[in-house]
């Protein structure tokens, strides 16, 4: 029984382990053949930055973990233009292919889902 599940990542990649543990849920759900989309909302946008140097703080690289998602057929990664620009981020600074949507379209994305969970 494949369902559409949206996982919302709301935290920056380090500082809290929530982003990492949210990603573990994504990988588990994908292993059970669910159709997963990911929305990087608010400070979650920082998870997408290229050139993360997390080994200096003894943590696994969040971007490297996100890079395995296509192997699980997870290719619907979303971020909002507003969240990027409010944080002075440009698409060229992102290390992974992501779909940029308008904040006003987030509710459409949510309405397309069977289930939503936020981390």
């Amino acid at each position: 029984m494949t369902k559409n599940i949206l996982v919302i990542q709301r935290t920056a990649p380090y500082g809290s382990s929530l982003g990492r543990e949210g990603l573990d849920y994504v990988l588990t759900s994908a292993a059970y053949d669910q159709n997963i989309s990911l929305l990087f909302l608010g400070d979650g946008a920082f998870q997408l930055l290229s050139n993360q140097q997390s080994k200096h703080i003894n943590l696994k690289n969040q971007l490297s973990a996100l890079e395995v998602l296509p192997l699980y057929d997870i290719e619907n990664l979303y971020v909002t233009q507003e969240d990027l620009s409010e944080r002075n981020l440009s698409q060229s600074q992102l290390g992974i292919k992501v779909i940029v949507i308008k904040r006003a379209d987030v509710h459409n994305l949510i309405e397309q889902q069977d289930h939503v969970v936020g981390f």
Partner: protein
Amino acid sequence: MNVSLLILSEPYSSQSSLSALKYAKAALLAGHSIPRVFFYHNGVHTGSQLQTPQQDESNIQQEWVELANEYKLDLVICIAAALKRGNLTVDEANRYDRQQYNIEAPFELSGLGQLLDAQLNSDQMITFA
């Protein structure tokens, strides 16, 4: 309605840990069912039976135990998140050669697949972060 709970917050540090307990009681009293309560992230500390709050404070672990016994609740703690934070059942303590354990029934340790199962088989999943 079937409502499962995802609890991410740590007992005594975050108000939402107590809010989850109050929500669960209210939902059950109103006749809803709670197929599973899943403890993840810092919420994995909720099941520690070594919690020793002062007498005029709620014992959150004990309140979950009482609620689970009354309503036959399924209290599942994420095993990977629990082990790294030092929350072990006697079986895991033996497996990893630890001298202590602090998790007992009705709490159990299991994998994230149980969270997916809860999400897929509930009308709603409410997160307490």
